[in-house]
């Protein structure tokens, strides 16, 4: 199992066969505060690294979820539509957002490992 992290505070877990699960980090979840709504993309949508794929609404504001990798979306966590608080409770597990089939697996190399991410958020 390997989890990598983006500068936009997403985690990307490789599941083999160029399939990844994407969610937001605990740090991001804490920064956002209480979530009230998550707008998810649709299965089959293409995502392009650096572009918006989802919108996360907290009590305070709307924030974009930026695709950390490119590919096509194979599954979305539709539980989040009714229970966005799952993200707050378990951002690294049950609170995942989408699963993506990578179109360019080398993009994973540009992401940070846990140690690098931890020092990134300390700055």
């Amino acid at each position: 199992m390997s989890i990598k992290y983006s500068e936009d505070h997403e985690w990307v877990e490789s599941k083999g066969d160029d399939l990844v699960v994407i969610g937001i980090t605990d740090f991001a979840q804490e920064q956002l505060g209480d979530l009230v709504y998550v707008e998810l993309p649709e299965v089959g949508d293409e995502c392009v690294r650096g572009e918006n794929i989802s919108v996360i609404e907290s009590v305070k504001a709307a924030s974009d979820l930026i695709a950390p990798v490119s590919g096509s979306i194979t599954e979305v966590n539709s539980r989040l539509e009714d229970e966005p608080e799952i993200v707050t409770e378990d951002s690294m597990g049950e609170g995942w957002f989408i699963k993506v089939k990578l179109s360019n697996p080398e993009e994973l190399d540009d992401l940070m490992d846990e140690e690098a991410y931890n020092s990134f958020i300390e700055d």
Partner: protein
């Protein structure tokens, strides 16, 4: 006066940081947006128990001198001369065009003195405005050494009366001076949440002591600016820069209730304030736009700036404030809309990220006010 670019802190800053608050810049101050409890729980705690807010960033101003009441009437469309002793009234500073420069609370302290509380973001401009228009008629003093705490919620009176039993004699929008422990407090029974509650003005040096006393009650939790905004939104209370601005009259912001009879056409002291011709004509003839509540369908919040249109794509208005109402567990918004579309005959939609969200026009407030009127 704030020094440009220098971030200020309130006398309670250290307490917020020590409580684990998330601090953000707001109106030139570093302020707590939320505490570890989180906005939603801080919000419901205020609705069910009592929330403590540090609002020391707001402007506290005193007007004094024989002409002070008459002078203030020249810049607000509100009856000040007949404001009874130790009573508080909501007022607005209008500009030459009848637009709103800020809203404020005015209390008659007696001895020809008035106590004003104005918005943090406007306080320097308001102070200048008062100096310019009233400076030759009365004394205008901006207090630099006062803090302001708000204790809000159904248990606020129980908590405060344990420290100061005489607050039980107060009703909504009245004021009292009293001593808590050895702290000189000036208290009004008012607030910005729709709940019963108090605003307590006191010397900065005593702020931490009083905050600690209040927090020692198990009914009281710190509440930050995040929940302050969702509470006032549910209560349908206007915010300068959103429902109120320099380009819209109080009538266009649905604040007719705040325009005193004595200052309206045919009243004892009709007009004679900045922008009176516009405001009086808006009262007389009505306006094309007013402020309404909106309930969006579904769960997506419709926020400030979202455009409202009808099913044919006609522009109907714009959302002035919007977000999530934790009490209703639904998104809620306030919008300025063309009144001809608000009669229930037109289906209305908000545009959010190129999506059309159906919205229903509703009466404000979203959550019933719970003021103590005796």
């Amino acid at each position: 006066m704030s020094i440009l670019g220098e971030i200020q802190t309130t006398p309670l800053h250290k307490m917020h940081v020590d409580s684990g608050a998330k601090m953000v810049p707001f109106a030139g101050y570093e302020m707590p947006v939320s505490y570890p409890l989180g906005i939603k729980k801080e919000h419901s705690h205020t609705r069910q128990s009592a929330g403590l807010f540090d609002v020391s960033h707001m402007g506290q101003i005193k007007l004094s001198g024989e002409e002070s009441m008459r002078a203030l009437e020249s810049i607000v469309p509100v009856d000040i001369i007949d404001l009874p002793l130790m009573r508080t009234r909501y007022a607005l500073f209008t500009n030459e065009n009848g637009g709103v420069m800020d809203d404020l609370m005015v209390t008659n302290l007696g001895d020809n003195s008035l106590f004003l509380v104005v918005n943090a973001a406007c306080k320097d401009a308001d102070f200048q405005h008062l100096k310019n228009h009233l400076g030759s008629k009365c004394e205008v003093d901006l207090f630099e050494d006062l803090a302001l705490l708000a204790l809000q919620g159904p248990k606020a009176s129980k908590v405060l009366s344990a420290l100061a039993p005489s607050i039980n004699e107060m009703t909504f929008m009245t004021a009292k001076r009293l001593v808590i422990g050895d702290i000189d407090c000036f208290i009004t029974r008012s607030g910005y949440t729709g709940e019963d509650g108090f605003e307590i003005s006191l010397p900065s040096k005593d702020a931490q002591k009083l905050a600690s006393l209040l927090l020692s009650s198990e009914d009281v939790e710190w509440v930050g600016l995040g929940a302050r905004d969702s509470l006032r939104l549910e209560a349908g209370l206007s915010l300068y820069g959103h429902e109120l601005d320099d380009d819209h009259s109080p009538v266009e912001s649905s604040l007719n209730w705040a325009l005193s009879k004595a200052r309206r056409s045919g009243g004892e002291r009709e007009g004679n304030y900045l922008g009176d011709n516009v405001v009086l004509s808006h009262l007389e003839n009505g306006t094309e736009e007013k402020v309404f509540g909106l309930m969006p369908e579904g769960k997506m919040p419709v926020r400030d700036g979202a455009m409202i249109e009808d099913e044919n794509g006609n522009q109907v208005g714009k959302v002035t404030s919007g977000g999530f109402g934790p009490t209703l567990n639904k998104p809620i918004s306030i919008a300025r809309l063309k009144t001809k579309y608000t009669k229930g005959e037109s289906k209305l939609f908000a545009l959010v990220r190129e999506k059309r969200i159906a919205v229903e026009v509703v009466k404000l407030p979203f959550v019933k006010h719970n003021y103590y009127r005796g």
